[in-house]
Symmetry: C2
Subunit: 278 residues, 2 copies
């Protein structure tokens, strides 16, 4: 257990993990380099711990001590008790959830490990927006995909905003990075996955028709960034292009909604998978 330590100096070096959280460019570099990520709010802190991430330290205001008493009692990490004003000075924003944890990263599994155990994967190419990364993870986890593969230039799922928008799904859904892009997609295909590229291109086939024809084997659904979509290289590497049919003159859904629909189609259409009980 850990006895909360009152900290009153914003320059206290023990708070270094929590400085300048609003400087996205800085934190994007710093957190992976230092093996660090932020869990914000009681629920997210608990989910990160439940997923097995080690806690480096916990920063909280007085009124959160009771709510997090069991966490404080069971951790060996230092617990820093600060005023709301100090929390804001250190982090750069009003910490309205009142609790922040600095968590330690773990090495990502190799892509081969993810491929070996999965049947339905999402593959994200260059999704740079942390909100969208979080939303796609939430949808992929909720709708029963087995994991996510990221292109080398995808945004960090453990960045604070991604974690928050995912509602912690980035902790429960396994993911890995492909080091080569798009060459690494050959490894996905070699593991027995059919690569489906989601695109609004008129030459793509209706995703439902493709899934009826694909026989329920392993599937990897490729998604690009909002606006730009998948690159030519990624589209060329796919086995098939699929699209969600659009009505009423609408040209697209936002990336989170499109991903959710496609994930639902993939996980419900597979004829060799038992239907979930009603």
């Amino acid at each position: 257990m850990s006895e909360p330590i009152a900290v009153t100096d914003p320059a206290d070096p023990r708070l270094a993990d929590y400085t300048d959280l609003t400087d996205v460019a800085l934190r994007r570099r710093r957190e992976p380099a230092e093996g660090l990520f932020m869990a914000e709010g009681e629920k997210v802190v608990r989910r990160a711990l439940a997923a097995g991430y080690p806690m480096r330290s916990l920063l909280l205001t007085a009124r959160w001590v009771e709510a997090l008493r069991d966490v404080i009692d069971s951790t060996a990490a230092p617990v820093y008790l600060v005023s709301p004003e100090l929390a804001e000075r250190v982090t750069g924003f009003h910490v309205h959830r009142g609790a922040l944890a600095a968590m330690g990263r773990r090495p990502l599994p190799p892509a081969a490990e993810l491929l070996a155990g999965a049947r339905r994967l999402a593959v994200l190419e260059a999704v740079n927006d942390h909100t969208n990364v979080g939303a796609v993870f939430r949808g992929a986890a909720a709708l029963g995909l087995d994991g996510v593969l990221l292109s080398p230039d995808c945004a960090d799922p453990l960045y604070r905003r991604s974690v928050k928008v995912s509602m912690g799904a980035v902790f429960s859904l396994p993911y890995a990075r492909l080091d080569q892009w798009p060459a690494g997609l050959a490894e996905v295909r070699a593991a027995g996955f059919r690569l489906l590229a989601l695109t609004p291109d008129a030459r793509a086939v209706d995703i439902a028709a493709e899934l009826r024809g694909s026989g329920g084997g392993r599937l990897a659904l490729m998604l690009g960034a909002e606006g730009t979509g998948l690159t030519h290289g990624a589209l060329a590497a796919a086995d098939a292009w699929v699209r969600i049919p659009m009505s009423h003159g609408v040209d697209s859904l936002n990336v989170a909604a499109a991903a959710a629909v496609a994930f639902y189609a993939v996980t419900t259409a597979a004829p060799d998978r038992p239907q979930q009980p009603a």
Copy 2:
């Protein structure tokens, strides 16, 4: 055609439609009362006009005159030319899209008219968040529903934020209000619709299983507000409760993603509807 009129006084009464756009509470009351709504940006202005809404006036900065030349040339409404600074002083925000139109509302169709022509409807109860209203309309239009019914306390689809998030889908998808709630749902059922309530409640049946069994008749899919969901009264008025099965310990999707998945399930599962060509 209309010759642009330069306006330099922020208190000019001709700009009254555009004042205090950031005061949500004020505009929520004022716009329906005055039969007014705002279209923001070239694309949305064009979509509102294409849908047949009358333009009361157009406010734009100099660099948008050429892009909107055809609109200016074909309207009888006054066109006010202002500096970016004046636009910001009048509206309360930086009008980065450079063009705003004050549009006239039209009477909503009676619910009976919408019910007569539709096979697949969304029914929204107390969705008070303009972003969510817009996102649900975008999904409903994109995925091929025929219209939307709103409970009396649903937020206004023509509020600026709803319009923007819907990408103009609030113009292309018909909608109506039910005056009585939940009593008005009896009218929906009397028109031959099966009422499906979307809820995470464990007693609900898998939406896919329900749709396989429902024989492709008329369907009205009921959605509640994020967080609170459908009220007891609305749930009690439904013919069946349906849910989207969740995995990996996730308890929900956000309302836009959940709505999109449910709309997709409804519009693709109906066995008596011809499949869209691949």
